[in-house]
Subunit: 108 residues, 2 copies
Amino acid sequence: MQTKNLKMAQRFSAEKMQKLNLFETANFFTDIYCLEPGQEQKIHAHQGADKIYVVLEGTGRFHLGGEEADCSENEVVFAPAEVEHGVRNASPARLVLLVTMAPNPNFK
Amino acid sequence: MQTKNLKMAQRFSAEKMQKLNLFETANFFTDIYCLEPGQEQKIHAHQGADKIYVVLEGTGRFHLGGEEADCSENEVVFAPAEVEHGVRNASPARLVLLVTMAPNPNFK
């Protein structure tokens, strides 16, 4: 059985936000993003692919289509295809996100 | 900004497992499954659609392609397309799962 652990998979780097893949196929990817205070995923958009962020730990400042909001543990943010989105750790604590995108734009 | 809360979205029923949708498009759905002790999602399979289970609370007895294993909070289980899968709450406590499927077989 293919299983992963959300705690074991986490890695942080002082250099930049870390993206750790848990599972992927052509249909989707599920990653963990680990952000030290001050780190960010720059605002961007995907053609034809939807994204879901689940805040596992900490608080993220999410940007979505011109709106900005802080979301904390247990909150889920939906970034539909074509809509500009990004997230910044504007808090003094670590931020851990579970990120799923469908379909998978990276899959060869 | 479209957000949901994993705690607020939970609903349990003595009658059967509850499925609560958080977000969906043709590309995916993300649901919360809430299982009282003894409740289950029967073994089934999906053509062409992958599923990810994240255990948010409790312990589930997962069946995947003939294997069986107990997975607890913070564990993630991958059920690839075509592979038979199901989950049963064989524990004495409530079980809460975050379930994402891609693409979405229910989307009209």
